[in-house]
Symmetry: C2
Subunit: 335 residues, 2 copies
């Protein structure tokens, strides 16, 4: 395979707390291979971490049977805290003990290629914007549903990075008054994440089970450790008609819709996309969110906004990081 008529090749690297993944992506947003993955092992320190990043990039290029010369640019995505403009990882909770790691400059020097740097959720959003659920849209907002709730916002091919690299921190949208909402990991009460992350869904299920008098198969999974009570189980039981599971799923859709109505009031996007683990619950879940958005959102934009599920799955971050590299080369004006 060579750098043919299709144009340029980019490497997208998505660094997570457990694993980092990379793939070569072409000008049309197609990964040439499955992403290669290496363990992040943050506890081994940031020097080792930077070397693992480089090794993951090298293996991705090799997996694509390309040489470094064929690569036009590299995009790296990492979880916060970070300084996106400076290209530096600051002090992210899931990459301890890393601090002030000059990622962009290091990668740029090692490979001698233009290097883009971005927040991981922003990169995932950019992937969905470029070639996923929101391709062809002018503006979109992604909610990523997992242990926490993350987000990313793209308007006119620009990522809303924020002045302090906290643009699109949608898990910390407030959906309830502090005195009434649930306690969030950030220290505040009433954050969307405290109500609608996978962790929060399991916690709400345990609480509801304690008070539930009717029949429910959820009791079979109610153990001391939560090891068996997962969002997957809860969503599957809801699908099969379990009343309590259905109630939990419906409430989750309601909370997410309230978060969506807030982003509608702030940026009024063309499309809102839900990605991450829970989004695999499928069309029924999407339809519930959709209905609540139209019921509780500002009428005019809420009637028109499109609510969709993400399409790129776990590869969104890698593809989006490559898209950021491509954007660095092409400029904001082109998509």
């Amino acid at each position: 395979m060579s750098n043919g008529a299709a144009g340029r090749y980019y490497v997208g690297l998505d660094v997570g707390g457990t694993t980092m993944k990379a793939a070569v992506v072409d000008d049309n947003g197609r990964p040439l291979t499955e992403p290669v993955a290496l363990p992040t092992r943050p506890e081994r320190g940031q020097e080792a971490g930077l070397e693992t990043m480089c090794e993951t990039i090298r293996q991705a290029i090799a997996a694509a049977r390309l040489s470094l010369e064929a690569i036009t640019a590299i995009g790296v995505a990492t979880p916060g805290l970070m300084d996106i403009r400076a290209g530096v990882i600051l002090d992210p909770p899931n990459l301890k003990p890393w601090k002030n790691v000059p990622v962009r400059e290091h990668i740029r020097k090692v490979f001698g290629k233009p290097t883009a740097y971005q927040n991981d959720a922003n990169a995932a959003a950019y992937g969905e914007f470029w070639v996923g659920a929101a391709r062809g849209c002018r503006s979109m907002v992604l909610f990523t549903l997992g242990t926490g709730v993350g987000g990313g916002i793209i308007i006119d091919n620009r990522i809303i990075e924020g002045e302090h690299s906290h643009g699109g921190e949608l898990g910390h949208l407030r959906i309830a008054l502090p005195e009434q909402g649930r306690l969030c990991g950030c220290g505040a009460r009433g954050c969307l994440e405290a109500h609608a992350s996978a962790t929060a869904v399991v916690r709400r299920t345990r609480e509801a089970l304690a008070a539930w008098r009717g029949p429910t198969r959820l009791r079979d999974y109610y153990t001391a450790t939560d090891a068996e009570l997962t969002t997957r189980v809860i969503f599957d039981l809801a699908e099969s008609g379990d009343a309590l599971a259905l109630q939990i799923v419906d409430e989750t859709a309601y909370y997410l819709a309230l978060g969506a109505t807030a982003v509608i009031a702030v940026v009024d996007p063309e499309m809102i996309v839900f990605g991450g683990g829970m989004a695999e619950a499928g069309e029924g879940f999407r339809a519930r969110i959709d209905a609540y958005v139209r019921r509780f959102g500002l009428p005019y934009p809420s009637r028109q906004v499109r609510i969709a599920l993400a399409e790129l799955g776990a590869d969104a971050g890698v593809i989006g990081a490559a898209g950021c590299a491509r954007q660095l080369i092409l400029g904001d004006g082109r998509i």
Copy 2:
């Protein structure tokens, strides 16, 4: 006065439900005169309305002792509903019975000048961004406090217009769960506007008075019509130490801060500006909002965001509309 070395002149026109105002503004954002003002009289129909707009622009140019030749471009701001991209007033509640009024095209044809069109709150935000409280900032969010709560968002010299012209509709940020919040004019519950607009402040004061057992001078203003119980009275009494008035003002600051923490989670701006009537309450009010933002916002960006009061007063819309005209000429890149 002539089109001298200072550069170009722009007309800014700000159309409100009661009055429309216009002034000629120079390249540095300085109005050459006080704005001229004519009654809008929407009930006379949209043809008459368009003619009044043209007349206001003509009078503004005459007031500045300029001829039309000296004008480089015109900016027009109107209240929603509107289609910003199309340059059309759709169906705004406070301009009834106007419908589908092609404002931008009409003004452009009559005067033969490049014409920008913008939402009024967005224009006010752009004014504060260009030459007001947020001059020199990269990104800012304006909350305008009046009968309702409006807003505007500027990032990197671009207004966040929204896909359906509803970007920055910050009055409809939800700060409480629908089942717990106050009923808003939009039909939903828990909107910021339902808790913190001037109307809401007076309503909350009446409710609090009914339950208040201690002394308060607010009782002197408690009449059947609310005619004497205004936010001005409430804020002045708070300033003088009245306990109930102080409680109302503090709660208002709290609600506004919750709105501010939502925009921090979404766009993470460099500065948040509070403008409109209530903002004249001054530094004490600002400091209360500031403290609540730092207490309830996502810690990292909330510690750094700057909270300020607007500086351009009632002229922000006129100056901002002229700024939008200037931006049309210079492009997004320059400020």
